[in-house]
């Protein structure tokens, strides 16, 4: 099986640890992922801010880089949702771009989908001795319907104490450029999410999306709360002998 890692521009640029964790985790499970070098950004920021032409150009680039693989693994619910939910609309009904999208879309998996549905693994042999809570993120939850896959994986992690997050399904207020255009509402939403996280008493907040974590983590950090944010992949990659870094 030829597997491509679509690492996403946010992870590539700001959170390389997450990308490394995915590569190592998959390797441990016997999958050698390829990193198609031509990939950059899925175009979600442009599409969702109203820059359709730019989004179409980036979508074209992305499917060109990703086609031909048997599976594309994306460690971001949001970017996976962009490819699966929005690319068909951007590509139209016919032509080479539409063909490429039709090829790539059914093979695109968010990381936990790939682990649970394709590899059929729920215990990835991880060890992470911490109290952890999980934020499902909107696009993971309502966009691509990850369901309880992430929780199933987390429950198998040795040493990990999973605590439920009250109001988990509520948006953290990130929303891409929403956080800038409607900064006050975004911050108010984030403050409520932060309060919910702190109420759990967790040491670590994890999610399948670093952009939401960057948003929540930014406020947790500003408040000197001591709660760390970590992408789910980094927890799943951790073992008794080796952390990620």
């Amino acid at each position: 099986m030829r597997v491509a890692l679509f690492v996403t521009c946010v992870n590539d640029t700001l959170f390389p640890d997450t990308g490394r964790a995915v590569v190592r985790l998959l390797r441990r499970l016997g999958v050698e992922a390829d990193f198609p070098r031509a990939q950059t950004c899925c175009g979600q920021m442009h599409a969702n801010t109203g820059y359709r032409d730019e989004a179409v150009r980036l979508a074209r680039r992305s499917v060109a880089a990703l086609r031909g693989y048997d599976a594309v693994v994306v460690p971001s619910g949001s970017c996976a949702a962009m490819i699966r939910e929005q690319y068909p609309g951007l590509a139209g009904s016919s032509g080479p771009f539409a063909d490429a999208v039709a090829q790539v879309v059914p093979k695109t998996y968010e990381l936990t989908e790939f682990l649970v549905d394709v590899l059929g693994v729920t215990d990835v042999g991880a060890y992470f001795p911490h109290r952890v809570t999980y934020h499902p993120t909107c696009h993971s939850l309502r966009g691509i319907h990850l369901g309880d896959r992430p929780l199933t994986l987390l429950r198998q992690v040795k040493g990990l104490e999973l605590v439920p997050l009250p109001g988990a399904e509520e948006c953290c207020g990130f929303g891409g450029t929403f956080a800038l255009k409607n900064a006050d509402v975004s911050a108010a939403m984030c403050a409520d999410k932060v309060r919910a996280v702190l109420d759990t008493g967790a040491e670590v907040l994890c999610a399948a999306d670093n952009s939401c974590l960057m948003h929540i983590g930014g406020m947790l950090g500003r408040q000197r709360s001591g709660v760390r944010v970590t992408h789910l992949a980094e927890i799943l990659c951790s073992t008794e002998t080796a952390g990620v870094r």
């Binding site: 640890d17 990193f35 920021m45 820059y51 948006c171 891409g176 800038l180 006050d184």
Partner: protein
Amino acid sequence: MSVTFLGMPAERPFPRNAARAVRDSQLRFNLRKATRTIRARRASVVAEAPDWAELREAGRAIKEHTLRNLDRYLVRLEEAVTAAGGHVHWAADGDEANRIVAGLVKATGETEVVKVKSMATQEIGLNEALHEQGITAYETDLAELIVQLGDDRPSHILVPAIHRNRAEIREIFAEHMAGWGRPAPGDLTDEPAALAEAARLHLRERFLKTKVAISGANFAIAETGTLVVLESEGNGRMCLTLPRTLISVVGIEKVLPAWRDLEVFLQLLPRSSTGERMNPYTSMWTGAAEGQEFHLVLLDNGRTGVLADEVGRQALRCIRCSACLNVCPVYERTGGHAYGSVYPGPIGAILTPQLRGMGSELDRSLPYASSLCGACYEVCPVAIDIPSVLVDLRARAPHPWPERAGMAAAGWVFERSGRLARLQRAGGRLRRLMPRRLPGPLGGWTDTRDLPEVPKESFRDWWDRTDGGRR
């Protein structure tokens, strides 16, 4: 070009209205409490319906089919209502509807009318238009009464006074009821039951003597000419039943093809709106019922423009349940006034700019009044994909130049992976120089949040240096 009026002036852009609203802690508290109450109620009665997904799909399809054959069904409705002794009027815009209604009221010789809560008449500013003609319109829905007495504006589709708590409502009643009719009892408390009783006493006399009523309708059945109004308090029944003349102002998208279609919508609407298995009262009448004089005013007011839009058209499926408002994290924190339209919340964010156009700063900002979290789509009983319509409207909104420049720059960088790699390396080298607070519009982030640390090495450089960790 004429601009469609939607019951409120379009003033400041949404983010500025919202910024003020989120600082109002009383408002935040009232909204949080109310939306969470109703959300839980809706969730429990929806979970109880084993065929909710199928009802929702049928609701979507029936509405979509109706819209795609709207001319046919409107003509059919007109025929059926006329055959049953009603009179049908057509209004291309709000002004025309207001003129028609004022003319009909004047023809009765009356100067007072009672009103059932109706979004369509709020949208066209009917009360104000009647006032100019010397006709007083009395709102009879409890929440509308609170808004009217408080000289306030509605902030929710179903519960226009959702922004008010019981103490505020008590104050409004105590202070203003006397100016409109029977005063509030002197010992009025803020118990909801006492407040409801005060409204009952205040309006009782008026219901029994007023000769003309104005309503909207939730549904109008083309096949039979039947109009349907769902309500809770009985004020609707009072208005629909007692007066000699009934005038119903109904948006053209409210038509349903067949009587049978009610079996779907009488399940979808109550469970989605008030979170009940069934609302206390539903009235259905066909033409001139029980000897009443009945007028139906069919209202366009921008709807045909929306109908022409391939993506935006689905907004006309809306049955005004307000489930999307109740679940929206943005609405919960800003309330309805920030949206500057009688249609607030997610549905308002897609309906208002389509009906009114994107000529004002406010209307241009509405498609961005969402984090695209998708909760609205999930609860919508007719499956309006609100996030997709928002994104489509964003693509058509004019963008400010600094943003255009930023997006163009980002697009240029992402156009070649080499450009991205060079930028990442530059960022890695300059990482210690990153300011804690960002300038200009980006400062909204750093006011309350730390920026993530820029790593020394990007993922792609790590991959190249280590051959994907194999070296």
